[in-house]
Symmetry: C2
Subunit: 518 residues, 2 copies
Amino acid sequence: MGSLHVEDLDNISKCTVENPLDPEEFRRQGHMMIDFLADYYRDIEKYPVRSQVEPGYLRKEIPDSAPYNPESIETILEDVHKQIIPGITHWQSPNYFAYFPSSGSVAGFLGEMLSTGFNVVGFNWMSSPAATELESIVMDWLGKMLKLPKSFLFSGNGGGVLQGTTCEAILCTLTAARDRMLNKIGRENICKLVVYGSDQTHCALQKAAQIAGIHPNNFRAVPTTKANDYGLSASALRSTILEDIEAGLVPLFLCATVGTTSSTAVDPIGPLCKVASDYSIWVHVDAAYAGSACICPEFRHFIDGVENADSFSLNAHKWFFTTLDCCCLWVKEPSALIKALSTNPEYLRNKATESHQVVDYKDWQIALSRRFRAMKLWLVLRSYGVANLRNFLRSHVKMAKNFEGFIALDKRFEIVVPRTFAMVCFRLLPPRSPLIIKTNGYQNGNGVYHKDESRANELNRRLLESINASGSAYMTHSMVGGVYMIRFAVGASLTEERHVILAWKVVQEHADAVLATF
Amino acid sequence: MGSLHVEDLDNISKCTVENPLDPEEFRRQGHMMIDFLADYYRDIEKYPVRSQVEPGYLRKEIPDSAPYNPESIETILEDVHKQIIPGITHWQSPNYFAYFPSSGSVAGFLGEMLSTGFNVVGFNWMSSPAATELESIVMDWLGKMLKLPKSFLFSGNGGGVLQGTTCEAILCTLTAARDRMLNKIGRENICKLVVYGSDQTHCALQKAAQIAGIHPNNFRAVPTTKANDYGLSASALRSTILEDIEAGLVPLFLCATVGTTSSTAVDPIGPLCKVASDYSIWVHVDAAYAGSACICPEFRHFIDGVENADSFSLNAHKWFFTTLDCCCLWVKEPSALIKALSTNPEYLRNKATESHQVVDYKDWQIALSRRFRAMKLWLVLRSYGVANLRNFLRSHVKMAKNFEGFIALDKRFEIVVPRTFAMVCFRLLPPRSPLIIKTNGYQNGNGVYHKDESRANELNRRLLESINASGSAYMTHSMVGGVYMIRFAVGASLTEERHVILAWKVVQEHADAVLATF
């Protein structure tokens, strides 16, 4: 470990260095890393799921400048064990039920290896034809599995593209919608454009609107209600739009969600598209989490009406086994994206582009450079096949259903919103008063546990922190309609029935402990 | 390979499926893939560098829907060989000299494996503390290696973040600059904001301006000249700014480049920052390619003056061995980024964030989700150490210098712009007239080869296509000052001296052939 001062004298290279991509060294270290990770997955249950470190832990363990001389992979892997793993929250743990899953798999990992191994920069067709062509093909494959209308596929007049995240997908489609509109009404009207979502829409929409220069006052988070299961109501949307038009504003873009982050609520795509079409609003359907489930016929109806939307996206890295990042976006009118996002510098000119026979994905996204993400989606689709993919998803849904069943049997708890996919939103109900607890202990009758919301919220905050601090399982929270609830999302690839049973026991034990001092 | 119709009946799962992340299956297939890739690197020279396929080749070889049943990894790898590799342009080939390098290495690959293996979604500190903390630490490490002023480091009051690409880095900083300005002058003035670059600035700036809602008329590509080696002149910038102010517009953002894509020109950072500061313009320094070289003391002067810029970025995936994607961005005022890019939904609330003791990188970038990219940068820095990293870069520069030397010895060619880093811009000069060629053949005197620009451009277009079609080496072109030139960028990790010598022979042979029919 050297300092950065002495070696400034070394501006003539002193030694012959090994090639940094030597094939045999790649083989040796690569095998070592595979074993390291296979062991990690085998032993993953021994780590606390949520990292238990305190802010700043790593600066105390790591030198404050880069080493001057090389260090061996053996040393580095030891440090990964000692310094990094304690600071990891184990998203791949079978006891991970937080946020949404970050869905790993052998096939996804191998696809990422191929993509990193070839390390091509697929900005246009020319730069590596296979990267572009495979992407177009697998996006059609997945589109067909979802029974998307042909207008979203290359085999129709639309097409699909792999983005990194939904944030990017929304920003790209919003920019396309914005420019299409401004080309009609004049650029100087940008401050009049209005973007719509519900109060349950992912923050990606707000962020995309901020970046695209939409006036912050023109972002509408239309309130939802328990009566609609926190879905966006078409009539509420229409009233909001009418008010905006009345105020001289220009409705632009609606993001409808299938499977909201807080509670997996589903906005009614069909009715919302109908309203939107009356005002020429671009509709993007964000099915980041729940879209994957729609490859199963029994879930497909949740995206009924998508044929009237302009764009549709889902995150294959959430619940479709590709590892982060892999957001699948389909659009009906690729030319709208291309008009908004293309640039054509001389150094990228080539015959294939000029022949107009190819797709240049650089014009479908924010960045110029892009990884060969189609590889991992292709490997996932082929390694598991449609049949197994459906089975994986169904097994997660079934496990969530079982967990829901456990809750129903323990009257201290309630399901806050109905379960739709593989996530259960529940909470512990507070006892009526400390006196009753002390004298009678817990009773399972509804009389004892009631809905004093602020006490309930505090109780569940404590319960969740108690569970997570134990390291035995990890869940996160959300709040809908003023109710703090615990989200239990099944979907980590290693999770089996027994982990769900264990998690429920953990919840019960911590409920006992928390109630005892509440 | 099934169709998508029959199996719609199968909405009850029929078979118990294997776990998609089974550790021993991971181990088995992982080792297989390491050997596949090690063999690929060993044999890479047998493939044509630029893919030779025609548009649409892959649709002919691949079924038009996803398989219903799983396929084995052995079958898939066979198809990678037969169907994918022919469509790959081999960016990792030692005979690859196109665009800029996409710099792979064993350490970068291993870092990517760890990142993909842990598969954490590091949107905030809480979601995986190690991901955030390691990123802050390695960004300080690399910042120190570059001798960036302390104001760009976390150990000062600034900080670094890993973005995917320079396009994202520019969009984020531009958005931050935009909102800082609009908060002063009012949102309704967005159409008055002006963005500056030169006619050599990467198209990332134009794209970022488009996305951020800058009026298309307010994008300035200030012309450069051969006299300034295609660097942006401070006085030209000032005149352009003054004209804009005169017209009632508001100067906002300057992107200065260290190592332009066309010719690795260097904009004079110091003088440009001085002009910019007179008008409170945010200066971003885009050192995507050449920034890496600045870890060598003999190259550091190219970023002198950076202390007066607002933000600085380089692509570690270009010439710093991390594999795609890894753009390092440092900013002096992280709060400007955070104000423009933050959102704080309930489902992400946590104690660490509320303690204000931690960095939440989601507020430093476009997307919410983010991969653990710091891992690969950490592995590269430790596996090679500062000493070897400098040596790698110097060896590329030396090879480019040798290539330049070969050109100087063959009077049929000329160097179009002076070489600064590891890229040589050259062209073949056309013979004076067909008659002279036919009767006298080629002569090496300057009298015979002259600069008829349009003929020269056509000649070099043919030469480049001839070289690339051969598959022996791959180079790309650019155009500066009306001159079409061939870019020879050394930097693929496998390239050795002998490949550069071979490439020069290839250039000479194809020049012979092309001149013979010109």
